[in-house]
């Protein structure tokens, strides 16, 4: 549904987005990650046709956003970063306006407004003026605007920003439900969100895509990913290391002692075929008669991966 090809955006001498390419299919939820100022919002603005790219192109549902903007925009629902709303209108008035701009009039308009009001839990504030709303409600009002025409493509810039945990949960459930038959791109800072919602994630740093894969694939990039941790009571550290190293599937083994227990970390010899490592470690421990109270396979933590492959602002300034 969405094809981004070699997208470049320059602001004066500064290159905000540098040769970004990716595709999103129907039924996919793409998480867009990156530090502040990495170019996430700029990329989304080019996808939605708000700003033209310096180079490259965006095709949405077969329409080039630059050459056939109206046709492309018809397919897109967009939630901009700060969730702007017309503050001099009521929620109902605002949503009716959005519906009419999308070509829904009369009873179709009322039906669309009713549908999104239910989805975004806006019943209580329907006839309230937008500028009296709390941040959470205003955010959901703008989200409601983006889905009013049941678009095939959703572009959401930080849809859960500024919401409380319950509201975040609701929005995530909503995204998951939409994700079945739409193509969704959303940006976020919250890495657990990626795990909870996305089928794929892209990490972008200083305008460039630095990682693109499923959340599991990204986690696998972690240095500890796939290793097995074993905590053994009352055993000699060197013996444990020696025995573990003799396992066929084990690679490097590190041990440390900690208040009478031995903590061993066994890395797989081959990161791609580590499935049975934990089981063979358990079998070995049983055979040796070790009393262990912890045995688990590390999954790798997304935020460590994120930190490892993006540069924090502070380091960037020094560079």
């Amino acid at each position: 549904m969405i094809t981004v090809e070699d997208l470049v955006k320059d602001f004066g001498p500064k290159r905000a987005v540098n040769r970004v390419s990716f595709t999103v299919q129907r039924g996919e939820i793409l998480g867009f990650l990156g530090p502040n100022g990495a170019g996430k919002s700029t990329t989304m603005r080019m996808i939605t046709g708000f700003i033209p790219p310096t180079h490259g192109k965006v095709v949405v549902g077969g329409h080039d956003v630059n050459e056939a903007p109206i046709e492309a925009k018809r397919l897109i629902g967009y939630l901009p970063e700060s969730a702007p709303c017309y503050s001099d209108m009521t929620v109902h008035g605002f949503l009716s306006f959005a519906a009419e701009m999308r070509g829904l009039h009369g009873s179709a308009r009322e039906e669309a407004v009713r549908r999104v009001v239910g989805m975004c839990f806006l019943e209580n504030v329907l006839h309230q003026s937008v500028d009296t709303l709390s941040k959470g409600y205003r955010h959901r009002t703008c989200l409601a605007q983006s889905i009013i025409h049941d678009p095939q493509v959703l572009v959401l810039d930080e849809p859960t920003d500024g919401l409380d945990p319950n509201q975040k949960h609701e929005i995530r459930q909503l995204l998951k439900r939409f994700g079945r038959d739409k193509a969704i791109i959303f940006s976020t800072h919250i890495l657990e969100e990626v795990d909870a919602v996305c089928s794929r994630a892209i990490i972008i740093d200083r305008g460039q895509v630095v990682a693109n894969g499923t959340p599991a694939e990204l986690r696998a990039r972690h240095e500890l990913a796939g290793s097995v941790t074993l905590r053994v009571q009352a055993a000699a550290a060197e013996t444990v290391r020696g025995r573990l190293s003799s396992l066929g599937t084990a690679g490097k083994v590190t041990v440390s002692t900690d208040s009478g227990t031995v903590l061993a970390r066994i890395f797989p010899r081959d990161k791609t075929v580590n499935g049975d490592l934990a089981r063979s470690v358990a079998e070995l421990a049983g055979k040796e008669g070790w009393r262990f109270d912890e045995l688990r396979t590390e999954e790798g933590r997304l935020d460590d991966v994120f930190r490892a492959i993006t540069q924090p602002d502070t380091r960037r300034q020094g560079a």
């Binding site: 967009y78 306006f97 701009m101 999308r102």
Partner: protein, 249 residues
């Protein structure tokens, strides 16, 4: 223009109009407009002392009245969208920038037309007191509305240039002031003393004053209508250029 684009324009116009009347701005504006009109016409314009059954003392103040009131009414049209960020919302909807520009312009123009229409008691008074030429009154109103439209187009343009309403207001007042002064008799008389004729006429041809004066005399000339139409067209075109530049940079 297809019916769909007309529909889009009307949707935007409607939204802006609702926005005006949902806030106190509209009511404050109309009241001040009517009060000032009355004050200028009857107090400064010596409406009664003139003893003439026409609206010259009413229309003659409009270029000066509009100078401040029209920028005040139109300054928020784009600058507010830029400040709040709704511009991003508006321009990512399936409409062209032109439809948005015309829709907004029309909304504010209709609003000004309403305020102008509410001055009808002046007409009734004149008809009660004497036997005015209704044709020239109609021409006067058409001229006044076109003048307001020209000022408004300037304001729409300056409003797109900045996210600050005050700057937008000041810029448009200055430009409109030039549009008055360039052809205002006291100024042209000053210029005649040192400038060559062609310069005086060139500068004066930018002015709204000679064209507005034609309407006051009751003359509906195509060339005067064309003048106001082209000022409006030019300024709205500039608005579209400004908006495009905004998105490109």
């Amino acid at each position: 223009m297809t019916s769909e684009s007309l529909r889009n324009i009307w949707t935007i116009t409607k939204r802006e109009l609702v926005g005006y009347f949902n806030s106190p701005v509209a009511y404050v504006f109309i009241v001040i407009f009517l009060l000032m009109n009355g004050f200028f016409t009857f107090m400064l314009g010596n409406y009664f002392q003139r003893g003439e059954a026409n609206l010259n003392s009413f229309f003659m103040w409009h270029p000066w009245l509009y100078l401040f009131l029209v920028p005040a009414a139109g300054m928020r049209l784009w600058s507010e969208e830029r400040r709040v960020g709704t511009l991003e919302l508006l321009l990512t909807m399936p409409i062209s920038a032109w439809q948005a520009i015309i829709g907004k312009f029309l909304a504010c123009w209709l609003f000004l037309a309403l305020a102008l229409a509410l001055t009808f008691p002046v007409v009734l008074t004149t008809m009660y007191l004497g036997d005015p030429d209704l044709g020239s009154i109609v021409a006067g109103y058409v001229g006044s509305l076109l003048l307001a439209g020209a000022y408004l187009a300037v304001t729409v343009m300056t409003s797109a240039m900045t996210r600050n309403q005050v700057i937008s207001f000041i810029l448009s007042v200055v430009i409109c002031f030039f549009l008055i002064l360039a052809g205002w008799e006291p100024v042209t008389e000053l210029m005649v003393r040192w400038a060559p004729d062609w310069l005086v006429t060139t500068v004066a041809s930018f002015s709204v004053m000679p064209h507005f004066a034609q309407f006051q005399r009751g003359v509906l000339d195509f060339r005067d209508i064309l003048f106001f139409g082209s000022v409006i067209g030019f300024c709205l075109f500039c608005t579209s250029v400004v908006l495009r530049g905004l998105r490109g940079a």
